[in-house]
Symmetry: C2
Subunit: 437 residues, 2 copies
């Protein structure tokens, strides 16, 4: 069999997992590819740690298994990019630095296929990298960048190729979902659940990107690029996290047969694509409501084949690594350019504010007569049809009540809220959440 040589740059949690799988099931992989899958070279600053942690033979490490200086590493990378025998370079350095950006562009320009799990880089600075791949006729495998083990990229690209995807949504951040699950199960407030998630290893010491929706936004941006062929920036995609969800909000969600989930949502509508990342009240009839803990899930709705749901591990060393190895296998077998989008139509991105959705608005007001009438009247004046009013909670001097609307736009809701605010009856900023059926 012909050898198919692979280099790995960055041998941490994910890169080490890749090396381990290639070692452990090498003959299976080679049989499937019809080529001898060869792990040729690894570049890692902390080589000694990686060798110990993943049990990889030090012969694979540039520098013979010794730790490397940044300069030594850069030189070894240069050698790899100049080595005509290496077909694929796996980038598992992470981050969005110029170094890693230039590395990825350089891999493509050297005519080698790139496989990467780096969602932040591809979402925020992917344009030039994809362009370099296009121009040099090489593939970018990025299955591992969206939802770890869930094979959503290849499913969209290869299995839904006989169909048109009209919407894609999902639970794409395991940390948020873990926190929301614990808040619900144990009736905890956000801060307490976050602390427990950190103690259990499901949230990092600095959990900002997981909590504020940024990580989920990265993944949605990549999915929108693949499904709809559009480039959306983090600024354009208004994303929210789960920080402002209270135990009271959770209880109300249960009352209307739903659960809070941090939802990524994008939908094509005519020549527009609407998208957002926001906590939504997901109705119990929707499978996404059953996805608990650190598990991820993606739902697509397709023109011909209807609703699809994929559920699996969104993170983890061997889980994410298995997706990288699948990309390597795909490129080894088909020598495919994996970076083409499915839709070539010219679509325009819009945030959700002009798209109709059913919403829940929760008001905290003074506890006195006439307020329900005033609030609901203002909502009606904006042409928003009310579906239900739940007015059964009184907290000290306040009344808390929630209005479920028929599908309407955020613009309509915000206009009503602005007018209500002029009446000086609100004790807090109203909370507005979409409902996902």
């Amino acid at each position: 069999m012909n050898p198919f040589k692979i280099a790995i740059i960055g041998c941490g949690t994910v890169g080490g997992g890749v090396a381990k799988i290639i070692k452990e099931i090498n003959s299976t992989l080679s049989d499937r590819a019809g080529k001898l899958i060869v792990l040729d070279k690894i570049v890692e600053l902390n080589a000694t740690v990686a060798i110990e942690r993943f049990g990889i033979d030090k012969k694979h490490f540039c520098g013979g298994g010794e730790d490397l200086s940044a300069e030594e590493a850069a030189n070894y990378i240069k050698d790899i990019l100049n080595d005509p025998e290496i077909s694929i370079v796996v980038e598992t350095v992470g981050g969005t630095s110029d170094f890693v950006h230039d590395l990825c562009v350089g891999i493509c320009k050297s005519g080698k296929h790139l496989v990467s799990a780096n969602k932040a880089l591809l979402a925020e600075r992917g344009k030039e990298i994809f362009k370099a791949a296009e121009e040099n006729n090489v593939s970018i495998g990025f299955e591992a960048a969206v939802c770890g083990a869930i094979p959503i990229i290849k499913t969209i690209k290869e299995s839904f190729s006989g169909d048109e995807i009209t919407s894609v949504s999902g639970i794409l951040n395991g940390t948020s979902n873990y926190i929301l699950s614990r808040m619900l199960d144990e009736k905890l407030d956000f801060d307490v659940a976050l602390k427990l998630a950190q103690e259990a290893g499901y949230a990092e010491a600095d959990p900002t990107l997981d909590i504020n929706g940024g990580d989920a936004a990265h993944k949605l941006i990549i999915l929108m690029k693949l499904v709809f062929g559009i480039d959306v920036s983090m600024e354009e995609l208004k994303f929210q996290g789960i920080q402002n969800i209270s135990a009271t909000d959770m209880a109300y969600a249960q009352e209307i047969d739903s659960k809070f989930k941090l939802i990524c949502y994008a939908k094509a509508d005519g020549s527009s694509v609407y998208g957002t990342v926001a906590p939504m009240m997901v109705k119990n009839e929707n499978f996404l409501s059953d996805v608990n803990g650190a598990t991820n899930a993606v739902r697509t709705i397709n023109r011909y084949s209807g609703k699809h749901i994929l559920i699996g591990a969104g993170a983890g060393s061997s889980e994410t690594a298995s997706s990288i190895v699948a990309d390597i296998m795909f490129i080894a077998r088909y020598n495919d350019r994996m970076n083409n989008a499915l839709l070539n139509k010219k679509l325009e991105f819009k945030d959700l504010s002009q798209f109709t959705f059913p919403y829940v608005i929760t008001f905290e007001t003074e506890d006195k007569p006439g307020i329900t009438g005033l609030v609901t009247t203002e909502i009606g004046k904006q042409d928003v049809n009310i579906f239900t009013v739940t007015h059964n909670r009184h907290v000290s001097e306040s009344a808390l009540f929630s209005i479920e609307t028929q599908p309407c736009t955020l613009e309509q809701i915000n206009a009503a809220i602005e007018r209500i605010k002029t009446q000086n009856i609100l004790k807090a900023e109203p909370k507005v959440f979409p409902i996902l059926y």
Copy 2:
């Protein structure tokens, strides 16, 4: 762009759906494939009906849109197999007749790729067809043969190629699942629910294969071939259906936090693969328990990437057709031989009787003292560890009680039951169901 020509043999529910998709999104498909996707010829006996039903231009129909005799159809098929410009033939005739078997072998021998949704044919008589494909270096696309729209074949073949699948299970028959869902929701007995399913169009006038597990068995046989590389016959695979589940059984399942589902299950264990199709009590913590109505779902457990679940439409014209079009696209893009199994190890198939599983055994006995002790003693004598005993139901002169076991083999259970039978205390054949966690 180069043309990539397709012929369809059999333009009924599925074949007509394929023609419709190819017509409606032709430019999208051609863009994706990098080839002009051309629906060249259709052979259908009842052409006039198909033209009316799917709105397909009669120019595509051999015979100009007139109904054909069997002899005319056979001649047109011969022409197609001799036409060097046609790359793929879609077989949507159905059934396991010699005619369709020979047609599929003939397609492969003519050097054309074959795409088929025919699960019964591939499961029962697939060996010679796969051999013909192998020898003639053509692909067999069979995504549509297992669970309609769910892209489980490509997921296994392309997305799990960097991993090893240790078990595959699922709800692969929508009719059974629809009946079980109605039995549970409306507390119906099987016969009543079957009738309702027929009235609602979810069960055929002759529902035998759906109800007795045969259809699910076909799909599991194809999955086992793909995942484990083994050929299993319908005789070797002991399959059961849902006919013997009573409303009482359903109620007990609820009591132990589970739901009845017709489960296809296969698991590799050393050099053996254990498999079965049987109604199981699926614990509520397992996602499969949430899959209701005619929806299908497949779960795999993978060595590196853990648990995966795919949920989607298991049947339907455009749903199944979309999977066929995806196969056409894949072959057009990659010219791939899709028929290779993932595992080349020599594995041996065994039915579930020697494989350990937790079970529920429900006894209907005389209602008198001493019986619980007698039954549980015999079970203990077979070295079966009891997990729970639920003895809270008395029906007229009978006592009904259920024993949940720790994992044990069916052989052990059957041995215990044989000994209990000699005591003449049983009023009915005990019911034995596996529990799926």
